[in-house]
């Protein structure tokens, strides 16, 4: 196949059309903040910097990028086999390394050492704060949703509900809500941690028992409904929740052991360690659950519910358990968030949050605890960086466009996620064998 064959030129045309669409979407026409006059015209003719080297109209930048992509694809196709094999062995590397126990332990210790000393190297408290709020809390959320989606195979589109329960329970019990605290006696924030976790778990059971009888799509829609209800409730019931304005400040946590006092204050570093301790605890708990009889029952239900029932597994019971267990870390995420942010309001618990957590889980690798944690770190770091530096004319509004594109690419090339769980990867392989489609054919539309 020569590079100028008809099929390959058709491919060039396709790529350029897609590039043009991307140029429009990422440009002035796709921005709510651009002056209305610029529009599509601006998306193409605005002059942009070429990585700080020189400036030229945007269309030229995108045209060049499109041609480069086309050349890469043209070069790739004849060598697809080799490249794919190379990529596979590259991606198999982490698995090969971590299959040795000592290597796993070493890796974990190194990772632990890095996260323990990290605050020494982050001098700006702004960034430290972001690490806790944008990464730490989201790892907790992703770990929790992973139990529901990854372990039990239940599509939950309303996970933010548990996050909200944790946060609002904290605000309520510490007396930061318009609704009077329980027994009119606010309690210290630190004590709320177990209560907040428990509240989220109870809520998981209450929410799960009626709804988890539904399967697949129906469950997804119901959980979506719950997220919208919670969102709406906290927004409108201002007498109870403070409405859109939110709570009054939640007191900072303080520890008083009689002989030892510690107060979490404005500095984010102590929160960082609090969060870290709980992340480690949740990772340990979820890992041992995964390898327990409960974890195996979850896999059985996920793979074949009818077969699972035939060996005496009660699907409803285990699904409710997955909801409750997942809610625990989601709820703690809420407590953490309330303690750190101080003032909580509905904008922290929107439907968008639920979708976001799901993205982290899918990206990291459903069912893979380490994958999900890594996925949360990668995506949340990237989005925090983009939001705060706005490089290359990046606009905050476009974030979900990029995340969507990332997920599409991910689903094509690495559907089981960044660090897939072994079992999940096999399930994907099974599904793939069912209708054998090669990745490059999906990408380019060619049939074998």
């Amino acid at each position: 196949m020569t590079i100028l064959s008809l099929a390959n030129l058709k491919r060039l045309a396709m790529i350029l059309i897609v590039t043009a669409v991307i140029a429009i979407m990422t440009g002035a026409a796709g921005s709510s903040s651009a002056p209305p006059t610029t529009g599509i015209h601006g998306s193409f003719f605005e002059r942009v910097s070429w990585f700080g080297l020189f400036t030229a109209p945007r269309w030229l930048l995108f045209f060049t990028l499109g041609v480069i992509v086309w050349l890469l694809v043209s070069l790739y196709r004849p060598r697809a086999q080799t490249i794919r094999r190379g990529a596979e062995s590259f991606f198999a590397l982490p698995r090969a390394v971590t299959s040795r126990r000592w290597a796993r332990v070493t890796l974990m210790l190194v990772a632990l050492a890095i996260v323990i000393v990290l605050p020494k190297f982050v001098h700006e408290s702004f960034w430290m704060y972001l690490i806790v709020e944008q990464i730490g809390v989201w790892i907790l959320l992703a770990l929790g949703l992973n139990v529901v989606v990854g372990f039990a195979g239940l599509l939950d589109l309303g996970f933010a509900a548990f996050y909200a329960i944790g946060a609002y329970t904290t605000a309520w019990l510490t007396g930061a809500l318009p609704a009077p605290a329980l027994f009119h006696h606010p309690i210290p924030t630190l004590w709320v941690i177990p209560i907040g976790i428990l509240a989220a778990m109870v809520f998981g059971v209450l929410l799960g028992t009626p709804t988890l009888r539904l399967r697949g799509d129906y469950l997804a829609i119901v959980t979506l409904g719950f997220a919208l209800i919670i969102d709406d409730f906290v927004e409108t019931q201002s007498g109870v929740t403070g409405g859109g304005v939110g709570s009054s400040p939640v007191p900072h946590p303080a520890l008083d052991l009689g002989f030892y006092h510690f107060k979490w204050g404005l500095s984010p570093t102590p929160y960082y360690y609090l969060c870290l301790v709980f992340i480690v605890v949740f990772i340990i708990v979820f890992t041992s659950l995964e390898h327990s009889r409960i974890g195996r029952a979850w896999v059985a239900i996920r793979e074949d519910e009818v077969a699972a029932e035939s060996v005496g597994i009660n699907p409803l019971k285990y699904k409710v358990m997955a909801f409750a267990v997942g809610a625990a870390s989601g709820g703690f995420g809420g407590v953490m968030s309330a303690g750190l942010v101080g003032i909580i309001n509905p904008s922290l618990f929107t439907y968008q949050v639920s979708v976001n957590v799901l993205v982290l889980v899918i990206f990291g690798g459903m069912g893979s605890i380490w994958g999900v944690a890594l996925g949360a770190i990668v995506i949340q770091t990237a989005t925090s960086y983009l939001d705060n530096y706005q490089p290359w004319g990046y606009q905050i509004n476009d974030l979900y466009m990029y995340i969507g594109a990332l997920l599409i690419v991910m689903m094509i090339f690495r559907p089981a996620g960044l660090l897939p769980s072994r079992r999940r990867a096999r399930e994907f392989a099974e599904a793939k064998r069912g209708d054998d489609v090669h990745t490059d054919e999906v990408l380019t539309g060619d049939q074998p």
Binding site: V285, S288, L289, S292, R293, I294, G295, R296, A297, V299, A300, E303, D304, V306, A307, A308, E309, S310, V311, G312, I313, N314, P315, K317, M321, V325, R423, R424, R426, E427, E430
Partner: protein, 271 residues
């Protein structure tokens, strides 16, 4: 043993009727199974054999009729209205016509899931792994090893279920069903899709299930030679109704059966 009162029944379905909208899958079906026997259900495709199995195991809920399971010790259990997992826990186990294994799990794990006790919550036990939990693990691991040996999959223990040959898959499914420690096992076309030598091995295995493990066997099978040599008694279903019941010799000689089934689908069974 011919005296009605002294017969020890293990499973008894009376006057079952099961409808799906306008389709009647089972029409006034009564089936009695004695403890310790190998009983077969035969009949042409669409006769309602699988529907009967699904009714007996709580997957389908018949609109009319009763099903009673008499466990060796304990009160008779009324199956209708119970969930599939409750019936499995009570001691009625099954395999499926199109095998339903946990395909991404290993052979060992497949059986282990069957061997584990799924009652109770066990959240604390799973986390703390106290002596009770460890003992439970030990017991189920031993059962798995024993069953691997029993069905002849010991050397395949660490393979992924989907890597197994067809015959091995069917044996794995039987092992998984046996892992629940059932008193009766329902096998839905266990030899379907297997080659002649695998078929012989399966027949041998089914006989051993009853003889060595003392599990009563209810069997659906299309292969006449196999079923006639294996079963002690047969029920013949046609269009959702029982049209005959008896020993293999009686069934072979029954003109109604020959007319409805053995004659008409002769080509199919030999194919």
């Amino acid at each position: 043993m011919s005296d009605e009162a002294t017969i020890d029944y293990i499973l008894r379905a009376e006057n079952l009727t099961l409808r799906f909208g306008g389709v009647v899958s089972l029409r006034d079906v009564s089936v009695e199974m004695r403890r310790g026997e190998i009983l077969a259900v035969i009949g042409p495709n669409g006769a309602g054999k699988t529907s009967l199995f699904n009714s007996l195991t709580g997957v389908y809920q018949p609109q009319e009729g009763t099903i009673t399971f008499m466990a060796r010790d304990g009160a008779p259990l009324s199956v209708i209205g119970k969930k599939a997992h409750q019936i499995a826990q009570a001691g009625v186990s099954r395999t499926f016509q199109a095998s339903r294994l946990f395909n991404a799990l290993s052979v060992f794990e497949n059986i282990k899931i069957g061997a584990e006790d799924h009652r109770g919550i066990g959240l604390v036990g799973a986390l703390v792994k106290g002596p009770g939990t460890r003992r439970g693990e030990h017991v189920s691991d031993n059962l798995v090893i024993e069953l691997l040996e029993f069905v002849g999959l010991t050397s395949e223990a660490n393979l992924i279920a989907s890597q197994l040959s067809y015959g091995a898959r069917r044996r794995l499914e039987i092992a998984r069903a046996l892992a629940t420690n059932p008193e009766v096992i329902l096998l839905d076309e266990p030899a379907a899709g297997t080659n002649p030598s695998e078929k012989l091995a399966l027949a041998e295995l089914i006989r051993r299930v009853r003889d060595e493990r003392g599990v009563s066997v209810l069997l659906i099978e299309h292969d006449m030679k196999l079923v006639m040599s294996l079963a002690e008694r047969l029920y013949v279903l046609n269009f959702g109704s029982v049209i005959a019941e008896g020993s293999p010799a009686e069934i072979r000689a029954n003109p109604v059966v020959i007319d409805a089934y053995l004659g008409s689908s002769h080509e199919e069974t030999s194919a």
